[in-house]
Amino acid sequence: MTIPGFIIRNAFRNRRRLVLATGGVAVSLLLLTVLQVMLAGLTDPSATDEAARRIVVRHRVSLANMLFASYEKKIQALPGVACCTKLLWFGGIYQDEKNFFPQFACEAANLFNVLSEAKIDPQQRARFIQERAACVVGIKTMQRFGWKLGDKITLMGAMWPCDLELSIRGVFSGTADDTNLFFHHDYFDELLGDKGFTGLFWIKADAAAAVPALIERIDAEFRNSEAETKTETEHAFQLGFVSMLGNLKMLIGSISTVIVFSLILVTAGTMSMALRERVREIAVLKAIGFDSRLIFGLILAESFGLALAGGLVGCGASFALLRTVDFYQLSHGLFVNFEITPHILVVGLSVAALLGMASCLIPAYTGLKRSVVDGLKMPD
């Protein structure tokens, strides 16, 4: 027998408790990692080099207020602007309200210059630009509804008094959100009778370094106009969008704290029970030559091992869950980036291991401070 062997024997002495405690830690870690994935997906949109060059111009008052389409020419003329497209949230219904996915009117010719990381077949892109009632759809939405190239779809206007009859001419992938559908702004204008407005301008700057100055320049250009602008980076815009859902960060943070606290209770309770059963054994170990530091090490290792085992099971389960379940479909398109990263797994396992160690401190201290004589007097 070795010291690690002795620790394992002790850990396995009450198998039911071991399974329940490990299971408790595992469930807590599963919840914790899923929540962290959710938080990351909602609040930390992927920031690629391309995305860092993009900025969004909207009405200063709110997203619900429209901007004049004529602003585009002035924006295009500003130094630092590489390309620009109008963008308008259509918010239509495909067959049923639950089939939500984002739909935008855009300038077809400029869209993929701005959204330059998108992967699309050049021929499909060309057909999309040529055909007024064409649309391009992200791969996730194509898969979600089982659409194919050439399919015709109807989007019923919910916010706008028009329905769109669109032909799918292209499929793109490789963007932060492969659920979007883009169609021609001109087509929308035609249906609505060209009112001369749009929702946003989506701009790509010459370089990431030019972005701050460009933001200032655009807002300065339209200051004191009929529709003043608020310009911000794409990243800031997305975070602002998420904040409309409420203080998610605080909510998820609070739930995570409760989970971590439960985790401490589970492991501390288990270790307390385990050590209470072994008061006499600890006294005997001390009597026969195990010093307190070694016994503390044995207890610490057992608690650490238990929590880490639970953590591995929990993180493994969340990894498997997030890999197999399509949360995009399950959440009706709310969660786009729902991916467990190595960072989240490492954080989860570290939390489990640290709490495993922390939770045994008080029971171990209580057990070890008892004298050998008092320990030997304890009943079985």
């Binding site: 002795f6 005997v284 001390k286």
Partner: protein, 250 residues
């Protein structure tokens, strides 16, 4: 009983007699007071006692007389309130907790009334336990453990868990655990208290053999005169005071 004491350094003569010249244990004016709330309970009152090397001493007395307290102080698991307890010339009460643990490991073997074996470890592993904190190799540990189990006559039970052994067998495993680090002193606190008369006799014979053949100094706490009869000498305590010492059976 046939003994294999190969791992224990035996004296040249087959039977070891204790030496009266240099006591292993020297106790002088030893007092132990326990504080119970606002009251002080005197467990030992100015006890003087010498225990020679190789002696088998029985500490006797009624419950609450202080015999277990005295044994605990001799074994270094309790500290006196006043007085001195020298074991092998070392005042154990002055050692730090860490040094005391090491000292116990090297010098004292414990045998308890309720055996105190680890239930999830086999007999072999229980005996091996004190050797885990030494620098012995696995092979060396195995040699020591097997010799100790052979000595107590339980080689064939080495893979049994304590729950699969009788009370007498459990106590013999505990004795094997006590002697495996080769201590000078074996302290036994009512080792036969939970055993039937046959198993008790076997355990006491084993302690006697360890004393006579291996030269171990044995201090036995008991209130059973039959058990005390195995000792060379008895010391009687009552209300914390040492009343008398005498040869066993006197």
């Amino acid at each position: 009983m046939e003994l294999n004491l190969s791992f224990i350094p035996l004296s040249e003569s087959a039977t070891v007699r204790f030496s009266m010249e240099t006591p292993l244990v020297q106790i002088r004016a030893l007092t132990k007071v326990y504080r119970r709330g606002a009251n002080d309970v005197v467990a030992l009152r100015r006890v003087d006692l010498d225990i020679s090397r190789g002696e088998f001493l029985a500490l006797m007395g009624p419950s609450g007389s202080g015999k277990s307290t005295l044994l605990h102080i001799i074994a270094g698991i309790d500290r006196p309130t006043e007085g001195q307890c020298l074991v092998g010339g070392i005042d154990v009460s002055r050692l730090s907790e860490r040094a005391l643990t090491l000292w116990r490991h090297q010098n004292v073997g414990f045998v308890f009334q309720s055996f105190n074996l680890i239930p999830v470890l086999t007999a072999y592993e229980n005996v091996e336990l004190p050797l885990l904190v030494t620098s012995l190799s696995r092979r060396e540990r195995k040699e020591h453990v097997q010799a100790a189990l052979e000595l107590v006559g339980l080689s064939d039970r080495q893979h049994h868990l304590p729950g699969q052994l009788s009370g007498g067998q459990e106590q013999r495993v505990a004795i094997a655990r006590a002697i495996v680090p080769d201590p000078n002193l074996i302290v036994a606190d009512e080792p036969t208290g939970n055993l039937d008369s046959q198993a008790a006799a076997s355990v006491l014979q084993l302690l006697q053999v360890l004393n006579s053949k291996a030269g171990k100094t044995v201090v036995l706490v008991t209130h059973d005169p039959k058990a005390a009869a195995y000792a060379h000498r008895t010391a009687h305590l009552e209300k914390g005071e040492l009343l008398e010492t005498g040869t066993a059976g006197s």
